[in-house]
Amino acid sequence: MKRIITIILLLYAVSSAYAVHWDPSVSGAVLFSGTLFDSSIDSSGTHWSSVRLDAELDAAAIRFGKRHTLSLPFSVIYRSETGITERMQLAAAFGGELSLRYRLMMTDSAAVSFSGDMAFLWYDTCDAGAWQFGTTVELEYYPIPQIGISLPFTAAWGRDEFTYAIGAAVRIRFWGSV
């Protein structure tokens, strides 16, 4: 009980110190994804390349003052199947990702964000799935406050697997004020 009261008081203090705004957004991204497996999964050491599509809803986003935003975005992910190498092919996968993100507005139109991500990917081919945990750094530019373009860089680790992605995204901020 004490802890809950302490947290509530802290939040009140922070919100009193800053003007707090709800700052939801949606975004869509296209990324180039590369995946590497432990030799126990893939002895060929192939770098598996595929296209990844992300659709994100960042509803739980709170902006403190002009510069700092904390949010819990949720994304739906699709990763395409790869080409065939040595009789093997990385299957297509789809899933969901939940992140904890911090965004810093460096100027009125440029921002950088950092997030910790957890994703569950499902492989329709064998009706099975796996978790991945990783991090994303995103460079954002807002030519107008409501619409931004960004360059996300993602790295994630799963069991016997490392995957990275780099691409481009478009973000629409509903209230769009700086």
Binding site: S43, R87, M88, W122, C126, D127, G129, G158
Partner: protein
Amino acid sequence: MRSALKYIVSAVLIAITALIISCSDPAHQSKVVFISAAIDYGPEGEINYLANPPEDQRVLSAEIRALAEGSGEIYEEYLFLEKNGERTFNGTRKNWNHDDILSVIASLDTVAEDLIIFHYSGHGDDDGSLVTDMDISFRLSPERLLDQLENTDGKKCLFLDSCYSGTFIDGGKLADGEVFFGGNLISESFVHALLPSLLMTFSAGHTERSDIWVFSAATENQSSFDSWDGGLPEQENFGAFTYYLASALGYDMENDRAAIPGRMTTITFYDIYQKVKENMDGSLWKEATPQVTLSPVDLVLFRF
């Protein structure tokens, strides 16, 4: 003098080039090797007799040969058969046992791009071992077979139509959403996979065997069936699992002949799994639930 030297140097360079070219290996045409062991424990009337393994081997060898040759690959087959209690190897009488199977695997001349398909149709022991003879000293354990296959170059695909054959499947990298009760499948959903896969992410140890994909007729706790009455007249002549497997590979069961797909088609390991899952009788799927190695990497069996 200078011209003579030039000619001598040119001749030496040409000779060296010719030597290098002649030493290089010719391009390797990829190969499909089919190794099958099918045992009926006969003759008919014996207590452990199984009617259908010989037919299982016949249709699978015909279909895999057709697929391999149709996709432009070299085909090799090694057929270990017991029919009416008489043992043959590639059609010649031979009193073979599992050591002969392992010797054949050890002697294969394959490279990384080649495909080795191992098929077994017969009894399986409680621990998943293949019962290559009713004499208890003749058991081919999963470890021995998988170790031998792992030491062989190429991609390996195992089709196992025997009881408890799910024992051949390693822990895997992925988690499925199957829930069993009393040995039977009662539910399947991705929701059931969330927690097991989360625990798997942080558990110690790696999947130990790469380049091996296993498709078994049942889990490690289930029996498989010598035949299944699914309502189709020809279905009773084949192992319950093998009937659907051969059909999924493309064998024309109605006309009893091998068939290959049209052009621009790729047949992968998980394609076959999904076709079996789609077509298998629901009651059979619950009692003898086929299992596959769970991997994000699919094995391409044939390309047309």
